[in-house]
């Protein structure tokens, strides 16, 4: 698939992802903030779950996307795929930061601590630092091909953190609660499950939409910069 065709395809279909994400999130927020009942133990504070968990899940989805796109880049060496990698990394950092902030806010009333060195929290903080490192590496290297290759290798190595984050609550004795939705079943009350599911799916689709928009943005910016560079060199000659 050529870059122009891919960008055209993203431009054509992005709006449907945006509409679905906005619809799911608006119903999810309404049910989460207005109609769902408070938790027996946590009370009203449980409502933080409807933003915290979707942000964390989406951060992991974004990193998994970055991982697969990095493999795709190393295979095809296509510049537009590198743009998509860059876009996915930026979004993964945003959702990871959001997950850490909302988690700290949830931790204070429930654990009486903003932060604990729990396996789940620590492994998630490592993901955040990996993404900061990834984006810093992108600014250090001038050669576009070298930059894309090194960043793709870093993203592939960093992927090892994802299963650690996911299974940390099962592998180690953890303060963080175990998985609420797993192969063993769902341990959330039905009236909490609806906003939880709507927000989780909605934020994931929003990420897809944001990835489509951001990839176009980075591609067009590079195109613009390349053309500007060409004008300058033509002017000098």
């Amino acid at each position: 698939m050529t870059a122009t065709r891919l960008i055209g395809w993203l431009r054509k279909y992005e709006k449907w992802f945006g509409i679905v994400a906005a619809s799911l999130m608006s119903v999810g927020l309404y049910t989460g903030l207005v109609t769902s009942s408070p938790d027996y133990y946590q009370g009203e504070v449980v409502r933080i779950m409807y933003v915290h968990v979707p942000f964390v899940q989406t951060a992991m989805l974004a990193y998994a996307t970055l991982f697969f796109l990095s493999i795709w880049y190393l295979w095809k060496r296509d510049a537009v795929v590198d743009n998509a990698c860059h876009a996915a990394a930026g979004l993964a950092l945003f959702f990871t930061g959001g997950g850490l902030i909302t988690g700290a806010i949830w931790g204070k009333p429930t654990w009486n601590a903003w932060w604990v060195w729990d396996p789940r929290l620590t492994s998630f903080a490592i993901l955040f630092m990996t993404l900061v490192g990834y984006l810093m590496l992108r600014t250090f290297l001038d050669d576009q091909e070298k930059r894309a290759t090194f960043c793709a290798i870093l993203a592939i190595i960093g992927f090892i953190d994802l299963p650690i984050i996911h299974f940390s609550v099962e592998w180690w004795r953890s303060l963080h609660q175990p998985l609420s939705v797993s192969t063993r079943g769902v341990s959330i009350a039905p009236n909490m499950l609806l906003p939880f599911a709507l927000m989780s799916i909605g934020v994931s689709i929003l990420f897809t939409y944001m990835l489509m928009v951001r990839t176009q943005m980075l591609y067009l910016e590079h195109l613009f910069e390349a053309k500007q560079g060409r004008f300058l060199s033509e002017g000098e000659s």
């Binding site: 207005v34 009203e44 959001g98 902030i101 944001m210 613009f224 053309k227």
Partner: protein
């Protein structure tokens, strides 16, 4: 660009409306009063009173007497007569609690029939604002940038040099 701003205005209205509905629900079903607020308040029914049980004031229910204690906050205190169930032995001296009931102004006590958890709603609004507001700004500026770039392409600002070549 006009359709872009219209789309964002519609989104702002929808999500602002949901925020307002959440605020209405909070005022109706969650918001608590301090003893000072209660003494200054005109309403008397279906109130939620938040405060700390004053040390030495707690008297557990006996055969013919209900549980009694004083709830205090910021130097103001209110006598509470509690007729509900003390779930998990929640009631004790120096414990911060929320009691639900009605204010008996003539008798000078708050007749409570139920207990509630401390809402901690500041944490909820903090989490929502710190996650969704940056998300909206991030998305807005990103979409705006893409729209501007496409407008520039449409106006052939990027491809202008192609005609020269």
């Amino acid at each position: 660009m006009k359709s872009f701003y219209i789309r964002w205005a519609v989104l702002l209205l929808i999500f602002g409306g949901i925020g307002c509905m959440g605020l209405i629900r909070y005022n109706r079903e969650v918001k608590t009063l301090s003893p000072g607020d209660l003494l200054a308040s005109e309403s008397a029914l279906g109130l939620r009173l938040l405060g700390m049980i004053e040390a030495g004031s707690f008297v557990r229910a006996s055969d013919d007497e209900p549980t009694r204690f004083n709830l205090s906050e910021e130097g103001k205190k209110v006598a509470v007569v509690f007729s509900g169930e003390d779930v998990d032995d929640t009631l004790r001296d120096l414990k911060t609690i929320v009691v639900i009931g009605q204010w008996n102004r003539e008798a000078g006590h708050f007749a409570a029939s139920d207990l509630a958890l401390i809402p901690n709603y500041g944490f909820i609004s903090g989490a929502y604002l710190l996650s969704l507001v940056p998300l909206a700004f991030f998305l807005f500026f990103m979409e705006r940038r893409v729209t501007i770039l496409y407008v520039m392409i449409k106006e052939e600002k990027i491809y202008q040099a192609e005609k020269v070549l």
